[in-house]
């Protein structure tokens, strides 16, 4: 039996899931107090055919590390799945805090076309701080909280990678 914890809604909700193999391609899955018998067949990359009890589903799993977007029919369910060890490590690292210094990162690679703040500026949540251009569209990146700009890592005209630090607000 392997136990997992799934984080839903960006970590706002948790569900415990336990999986046990009971035969070739056959699993017993415990979720919300119910036990399901699941026949799972791995198709080509990222596609899992599931027969849950008797219902048939084709689940498409797009993995990004421990995060996965599961697509079923037209629904996309983003979640993160962790085993007990990873969950303990995550908790120890204290990644769940929202207070304190927040770093604004570029969500995609692109070019900084405008910097709208300076170190020391008081800013409000939702105030645009940096404008990054990608794919010919300009995207305003906004302050995640009320506070003060404590770090500024970019200047206008600079190329940035995805996840690059732009500035920090405290």
């Amino acid at each position: 039996m392997s136990a997992y914890v799934a984080l839903l809604d960006d970590g706002k909700r948790e569900e415990a899931i336990a999986v046990r193999a009971i035969g070739p391609g056959l699993y017993e899955v415990r979720l919300r107090g119910k036990v399901h018998v699941v026949d799972a067949f791995r198709h080509d990359y990222g596609t899992l055919s599931l027969i849950v009890d008797t219902s048939s589903y084709s689940a498409m799993l797009d993995w990004r590390g421990t995060r996965v977007n599961v697509r079923l029919r037209h629904a996309i369910i983003p979640l993160e799945i962790l085993d007990e060890k990873k969950l303990r490590m995550r908790r120890a690292a204290g990644k769940f805090t929202v207070a304190g210094k927040q770093t604004l990162t570029s969500p995609m690679p692109g070019k900084v076309v405008r910097v709208l703040c300076r170190v020391g500026d008081a800013v409000k949540a939702g105030q645009p701080l940096v404008v990054v251009e990608a794919m010919k569209m300009e995207n305003e990146l906004k302050s995640p909280k009320d506070g003060r700009v404590v770090e500024l890592h970019v200047k206008e005209g600079q190329a940035v990678e995805g996840n690059a630090k732009l500035c920090a607000i405290d």
């Binding site: 039996m1 392997s2 997992y4 799934a6 839903l8 569900e15 899931i17 999986v19 046990r20 193999a21 035969g23 699993y27 899955v29 979720l31 919300r32 399901h36 699941v38 799972a40 791995r42 990359y45 990222g46 596609t47 899992l48 599931l50 849950v52 219902s55 589903y57 689940a59 498409m60 799993l61 797009d62 993995w63 996965v68 599961v70 697509r71 079923l72 029919r73 037209h74 629904a75 996309i76 369910i77 983003p78 979640l79 799945i81 085993d83 969500p107 995609m108 690679p109 692109g110 076309v113 404008v131 251009e133 990608a134 794919m135 010919k136 569209m137 300009e138 995207n139 995805g162």
Partner: protein, 510 residues
């Protein structure tokens, strides 16, 4: 009879899905093709599809795809006898057409003077007004100074549209609701326009409340014949960019179609038009229509017209460039209903933020009445430098209702992993009651913003959790087996015995 020109090799001065689209027709016509590519596009699909390929410079389009001399040089070097510009980039640049003409190479598009007449949107508006075509109120010329523009906007009354004089395709176009917002939007539009068209001139137009965007496809040959191929309704727009287009439009009946068609033909003839063109109109709640602009090129959404007329517009463009005559108006047959959905590498939940990156897996839909015009393949990295359009999915069916169901079905089959795409959002648009009823306008996406971002289906949450848990479980087990197999190498002991032990340690599964 005009002397027919020979076209045996076409250079496609574009990239992405439209370059692939043009090359497909060329292949069917036995015409050889030349691709051009920037540094970022060496691995692009259009380079693979072409018979020859020429590198034209670094990734930013202003240093590669937008440089007229580089395109002309590539055409000379490869001995191409014609250039197809696609849409965007140099498609509406008369200087390319002129430079090609001087080099004795055909430009597959209208004459340069027709492009000039329509290229500067303000000039086009004036010409159309003179030809008796109704236009939207706005500035009669581009405005240079921000302060002057703001004063004009204040007088015109908000909301106003800030538009690129050289524009099209939503680039450099901003809706401004308040005077205080004007400076930031004006500057942003100017930068976008300079980047997209190499021309930062802007003008203003009054924003019509709840208009519908309906455009008419026209086609003209050099023998004086000009026909229209019916309308396309393009009112589903986000960030002033079309996302879903359909034909026929729910508000256009046969009589209005004839009227708008005749006006569109008149607009084209007023500038001596030759080739494929689109006359865009805004239609208000009273079904009055106003000239918006004429696009002197093939449109992104041309497949919608192809599906209902059975014509190949790229083939027709090449035939017209060869000097051949086009079909007569009474030979144009329209049948059934077609809808196109633009598949973008973007995240609707994050205000349509572009999502470049590697496509780790791709599966495209099939089945009856479905067409996928794609410019990508699995394993390719969608570059950050260009438009996020990766494909256009089109469905045809005898009725609008069936076409909607068919397109929703096909979107459900479309699978793109590794980057975020707008597939679920597109399906939500098609299934929205306002879209289903046909009663929608250009404010649709904004008005129903929240409803279109469907929350992750609670209905499938349990199945999703089960799928993810089993996938994680089997992945761990596979890793353990691989590890055990490696650990057993060279010890002389049986890997199977070791594997059995590893599994035993993991909690008694078989």
């Amino acid at each position: 009879m005009s002397p027919k020109r020979t076209i045996e090799k076409v250079l496609v001065a574009n990239r992405g899905e439209i370059a692939v689209r043009v090359m497909r027709t060329c292949a069917e016509m036995g015409i050889r093709t030349v691709a051009v590519y920037s540094e970022a596009d060496r691995g692009s699909l259009h380079v693979r599809k072409a018979d020859e390929a020429v590198h034209v410079g670094p990734a930013p389009s202003r240093d590669s795809y937008l440089v007229v001399e580089k395109i002309v040089d590539a055409a000379k070097k490869t001995g191409a006898d014609a250039v197809h510009p696609g849409y965007g980039f140099l498609a509406e640049r008369a200087d390319l057409a002129r430079a090609l003409d001087r080099a004795g190479i055909a430009f597959i598009g209208p004459r340069p003077d027709s492009m000039d007449a329509m290229a500067v949107k303000t000039t086009a508006r004036a010409r159309m007004a003179a030809a008796g075509v109704p236009t939207v109120p706005g500035s009669s010329a581009p405005i240079a100074e921000e302060a002057e523009a703001r004063a004009f906007a204040d007088e015109l009354g908000y909301p106003v549209m800030i538009k690129a004089a050289a524009g099209g395709g939503g680039k450099g176009m901003k809706r401004c609701d308040r005077s205080e917002e004007f400076p930031a939007l004006w500057q942003s539009a100017g930068r976008e326009a300079a980047g997209a068209f190499g021309d930062d001139r802007l003008y203003l137009e009054k924003f019509l409340e709840q208009p519908r965007h309906v455009e008419v496809q026209v086609f003209a040959d050099e023998h004086g014949r000009c026909v229209h191929l019916g309308e396309r309704e393009c009112s589903v727009q986000r960030r002033q960019q079309k996302v879903i287009e359909e034909s026929p439009s729910a508000i256009v009946d046969e009589q209005l179609r004839e009227t708008m068609g005749a006006v569109a033909v008149r607009a084209a003839q007023a500038v001596g038009y030759v080739g494929a063109g689109t006359v865009e109109f805004l239609v208000d709640a009273q079904r009055s229509f106003y000239f918006l602009e004429m696009n002197t090129r093939l449109q992104v959404e041309h497949p919608v017209t192809e599906m209902i007329t059975g014509l190949d517009l790229v083939r027709m463009q090449i035939e017209v460039a060869r000097g051949e005559p086009i079909l007569a108006q009474e030979q144009v047959v329209r049948r059934g209903h077609a809808i196109e959905a633009r598949v973008y590498a973007e995240d609707p939940a994050r205000r349509f933020m572009p999502s470049p990156g590697k496509i780790t897996y791709l599966r495209v839909p099939g089945g009856p009445g479905v067409r996928d015009d794609s410019g990508v393949y699995g394993g390719w990295v969608v570059p950050q430098y260009y438009d996020p359009l990766i494909s256009k999915l089109v469905a045809w069916a005898p009725t609008r209702d069936q076409a909607i169901h068919r397109l929703v079905r096909a979107l459900g089959e479309y699978t793109v992993h590794g980057i975020t795409v707008n597939l679920a959002w597109l399906a939500a648009v098609l299934e929205h009651p306002a879209f289903r009823s046909g009663d929608y306008d250009t404010g649709f996406c904004e008005r129903y913003e929240k409803e279109l971002l469907r929350p992750p289906g609670a209905r499938y949450e349990d199945v999703a959790l089960i799928a993810a848990a089993i996938a994680a479980f089997t992945r761990e087990r596979d890793d353990a087996e691989a590890f055990a197999a490696r650990a057993g190498e060279g010890t002389g002991r049986s890997n199977w015995a070791r594997l059995a032990r590893v599994r035993g340690l993991r909690g008694g599964e078989r």
